[in-house]
Point group: C2
Chain length 469, copies 2
């Protein structure tokens, strides 16, 4: 064995989160325990991860790493840290960092019609670029290595992703009010960028919602998706009242609209889905291998929606649920650990069942299921040989995580995203000891602050769209 | 003016949170806006805070600070930071850091009867000391400068508080199952330590709950409280089912029990109060100047309780509500900013009203009302000349807080407790640039981890108490 045969980068001494179908050790048997059914997590103590190029080459006990392997490699000290798969934000509008805190304490209709959509009239491509840069930096610092994005001026976002070393699945938003140009530009963006940045950038079609894009455009969307071999990312059944409104207006639920227009068949990332009803399962389950729902609990609570994504019903039906933040203008952060904690707490509370959605199950949503939502469960969301080296080290020695009775609970209920110390994407260190290696956010923050008067100006009296779901 | 006349410590260039009865600038008028009624917050940009001894001497624009004042003082650079009053944790059991993560995904009765109360049989005084030391360190790092504590072996906690530079209101827990010795030892502790550590330590009487302490002991508690001029800290009406159970068993609510036994008259900190019903207001409102409720939302959600503290009803009745974490064995952290965010989100959601409990109002709960709960609103909870110098600097330049449209929203919905950079208590810097100056937690964490097998041993088959509320 020579140094040239060893992995160029080795993380040593870490506790490694890995997936298993066995119950996590030390957990009591619980009435609603489903970890064996849907997969769960296990922790390997004092293990090392060998990374070659963009992939994980091996994972083994640190004691089995040879001096020759260590000699030829860049060593990252993982002692006192847990290694988890890079977190994948299942739904966001990343550039909306620019509007963080600009529309507070208002219900959804006011948020859209009186604040956000009128302000979006003011956007320049430069604003989108700055907003995306701040967002990607914020996400990488918090261990979020990929995100399913849905916004305008997506060329700007793609360039930021390429330069930052992050990963993303980008969708260019369109409304039918734009005419045929909307869907065509979304498809043109998807075709141009899919597979770019060494595969770190993938794309999806980006119809805004079932109430802002008509059926003809949705059918065209599905045709493009089939042609390009990509999924569609769309807001649908965002609340029960939206589903009721759709039934009243046209006799079908938003999910049936997605079925009837071919969106489900070509694969869909459904944002929110809080209005998915039991009857919708007949449309969703035939496509359980390519349809998933992104859940963003904080936003449902903040906007005082009754109920969030029906995680338990979807779980029982075998539908993948990913964890997302939604845009930072509603979620106020891009922190997946915050989003996961809220989902966990809200689910227990909603079902009046403290045994439902264990921390181990929550971690499965965060890692494996969120990767499945991107259609990338074969290469991301797990720490296994052959998988992409998207790895986050979290410092578990922080006072608020100690003493350590239960690592799964610590990662769901005690952790702060500031405990993320090192982040690797595609084998590249993008955050080292809490510092970004690829982006300088200071000038971005300054420029965005200087733009606030223009961004929030409503004197034009216009809006990019009307919210009447 | 000479240097010797200037404040020995000056924080310069900070944005200072201050209380006001005027609506916060820049906020829209909202239908349920109550900021003018109950007080709110305002921010003074680029101000300096002069500190002499344990108190704030003056607050004024940084530009008005003279070179002579600066020359004689220790300068803390507050640029890019917001100064808020030290946070006061309205209800906790601090040493239970030792059990953090040891009883997860279980409902309340199992948490008590199968996990926590059997494990507490194993406690030594040393465990309590270690648990308290970790807790106080964790809290100071998170900007929590004081806490209303309720636990056993409280001499140990008091010694930790004295040494750490923190502030606390300590109550020694007792059950009537201990006989007369319970209430008497709680009173003896309260008498011994009230006013200790230069006034940083105050005390309260500590009956566990209305279902574990009988009326005779509660009357004795009230007598001691009156004699000592202190309040009583007690779990009461923790859930609606507890209130129903009390009504069924004895025809009175837990709150009426507190009234009838004289606890309300002498002043009470009611932990949780999620079972307070409208009819209870007639008992509470006559003592609105000395009765308050500590709310710990995360625990209600995690333990799948239906509903939390009725914040809106209490608010409308003029009853003070403080923000707390409960013990870290149920809350998993001692993070008040997390607790505040959850309270804010849960309140909006519970009332289906996104305009209710604005971020400005939430900050009022965090600062002024939490200090009122301690009975210390005249000296803490506000940044004003003459008030104690308990001050937390929060770094608002972090990417997840930017750009800055709305500082109140940023402090409630974007901030992480890791953004706390510097913490001053009673004029002493206890955290500087994120590092504790008075405690070394590493050996504490190591020793607590080594104690886990003994702490979690249930082979004795005993319990400190039976949970049958």
């Amino acid at each position: 064995m020579t140094a040239s045969n060893s992995a160029p980068m080795i993380i040593t001494g870490a506790t490694v989160l890995t997936q298993t179908t066995r119950p996590a050790p030390g957990y009591p048997s619980l009435p609603s325990d489903d970890r064996a059914a849907r997969g769960s997590v296990e922790f390997l103590e004092n293990h090392a991860i060998g990374i070659r190029g963009d992939a994980i080459e091996w994972i083994k006990p640190t004691a089995e790493v040879t001096p020759a392997e260590l000699a030829g490699a860049e060593i990252i000290d993982g002692r006192g840290k847990v290694a988890i798969p890079g977190m994948m934000n299942s739904h966001t509008h990343s550039p909306m960092t620019m509007f963080r805190g600009s529309a507070e304490d208002v219900p959804t209709h006011s948020w859209f019609n009186e604040h956000i959509w009128p302000m979006e009239v003011n956007l320049t491509e430069r604003d989108v670029r700055l907003g995306a840069e701040l967002a990607v930096g914020e996400m990488l610092l918090a261990g979020v290595t990929s995100f399913a994005d849905h916004y305008f001026a997506t060329d700007q976002i793609a360039e930021v992703v390429a330069r930052s070393g992050a990963r993303a699945m980008l969708a260019s938003t369109f409304f039918s009010s734009q005419g045929q140009a909307g869907v065509e530009s979304s498809a043109a963006f998807a075709e141009k960028w899919n597979g770019a940045a060494g595969g770190r950038i993938t794309t999806a079609m980006g119809p805004h919602a079932t109430y802002t894009v008509d059926d003809a455009d949705l059918r065209t969307t599905a045709e493009h998706a089939r042609r390009l071999g990509i999924r569609t990312h769309i807001h649908a059944a965002e609340s029960l009242s939206q589903t009721e409104s759709s039934l009243a207006k046209r006799g079908v639920t938003p999910i049936q609209v997605l079925h009837d227009t071919g969106i489900l068949e070509t694969g869909a990332l459904i944002a929110h889905g809080a209005g998915i009803i039991e009857d919708d399962l007949r449309w969703l389950t035939p496509y359980a291998d390519r349809v998933a729902v992104g859940s963003c609990t904080k936003v449902y609570m903040k906007h005082a929606q009754s109920g969030g994504t029906p995680v338990r019903m979807l779980h029982d039906a075998g539908i993948t649920v990913g964890v997302g933040t939604d845009g930072p203008a509603s979620h106020n952060t891009l922190d997946m650990l915050e989003s996961l904690r809220l989902l966990s707490l809200a689910e227990k509370n909603h079902h009046s069942d403290a045994t439902w959605l264990t921390s181990a199950h929550a971690l499965d949503l965060l890692t494996r299921q969120s990767a499945d939502l991107f259609g990338q469960g074969h290469m991301l969301g797990k720490l296994l040989p052959g998988y992409r080296a998207d790895i986050v080290l979290i410092d578990t020695r922080k006072p608020h995580m100690q003493p350590m009775h239960d690592l799964a609970a610590a990662l769901v209920l005690s952790v702060k995203s500031s405990d993320v110390s090192t982040v690797v994407v595609d084998g590249q260190v993008v955050v080292r000891d809490g510092v970004l290696t690829t982006l300088d956010l200071d000038p971005v923050i300054d420029e965005l602050n200087s733009r606030i008067p223009q961004l929030t100006d409503l004197s034009h009296g216009r809006s990019i769209q009307d919210y009447q779901p």
